[in-house]
């Protein structure tokens, strides 16, 4: 029974075509291009409002050099939010539960921020390794610690997203199985479990959006330090 709980995370294939391909291509279909009109329809306008709000949230504290990253970070954010939310629909596959995908997002972007910092302002970038006001005796230890924390960042970014989504999906499956099995035997307990399932689904919707936001926010912070 334990093995089958993790089966939902195996990339399913049909006739050799993996479902992950469809799942990754779907966000393209769900976002609407603004037409060649002065005022668009309500759906396009709604989408534009959200996008403007996100961009302002993330890029307000950033210096001008970082604004070049706006398109990249926004598309990343939209992609992650859509993938996470689509994964909550029944029978669908969430590509962001695969560590490989999240590391593929985290490592190149983090590495890009580090390289930008090292190329443009190496002293300032290296200076981040030592917080201000450290006692002199602690300096060597702290530099080692800060270097380790710098290199752990991409790992943390990828694993955070993977773990949150995987844990959420697993919980949903566990509690749903419990409610389903309990229903013939003890209907009242099954109803309680169903209420728990409902609340958990609401939590999962929130987590899906928050995790995508946190991913992009942290990347923008790393960019701010280095740009």
């Amino acid at each position: 029974m334990t093995l089958s709980l993790f089966d939902q995370f195996m990339s399913p294939t049909l006739l050799g075509v993996p479902l992950i391909g469809l799942a990754l291509a779907l966000p393209w279909v769900l976002f609407f291009q603004p037409g060649a009109r002065w005022m668009n329809n309500r759906l396009v306008t709604l989408q534009a409002v959200f996008m403007n709000w996100f961009v302002k949230q993330i890029f307000q504290p950033m210096s001008l050099g970082g604004h070049k990253w706006a398109a990249l970070l926004m598309s990343l954010m939209l992609f992650l939010i859509t993938l996470n939310m689509l994964g909550l629909l029944p029978y669908t596959f969430t590509p962001t539960t695969q560590l490989s995908l999240n590391m593929a997002f985290a490592v190149p972007l983090w590495l890009a921020t580090v390289i930008i910092g090292m190329r443009n302002q190496p002293t300032h970038a290296l200076g981040h390794l030592l917080p201000e006001g450290t006692p002199t005796a602690l300096i060597p230890v702290l530099i080692v610690i800060e270097t380790i924390s710098l290199f752990i960042r991409p790992l943390a970014l990828g694993v955070r997203l993977t773990a949150n989504l995987t844990a959420g999906h697993l919980l949903i499956q566990l509690i749903a199985t419990a409610a389903f099995v309990l229903f013939p035997m003890m209907p009242s307990v099954a109803i309680l479990t169903s209420i728990l399932l409902f609340l958990l689904t609401l939590l999962e919707i929130a987590v899906a959006m928050i995790q995508a936001y946190v991913f992009v926010l942290l990347l923008s912070l790393y960019l701010q330090e280095n740009v």
Partner: protein, 86 residues
Amino acid sequence: MADRPVPVVEKRLMDVKLGELGSWLGGRDFTPNGILQAIRRGHDRYYNKYINVKKGGIGGVAMLLVGYVAISYLWEYDHISEILTI
């Protein structure tokens, strides 16, 4: 309603007679470029009919999502059918 004879390949699917189906399929463009064009045509038709309208509602997106759930169910049927038989 026969105005001018149109080559078989260029007719839309609903206008092709059953006997002409083979030659219609044979003449269609199955190159990657052709498939991409067909996908784009289909997307534009759906988009302009259900989403790019003045008072678009939730229906346009909802149909896409339900279709996605249905396709996922089909894709995972082998997996899911094993769960109940264990």
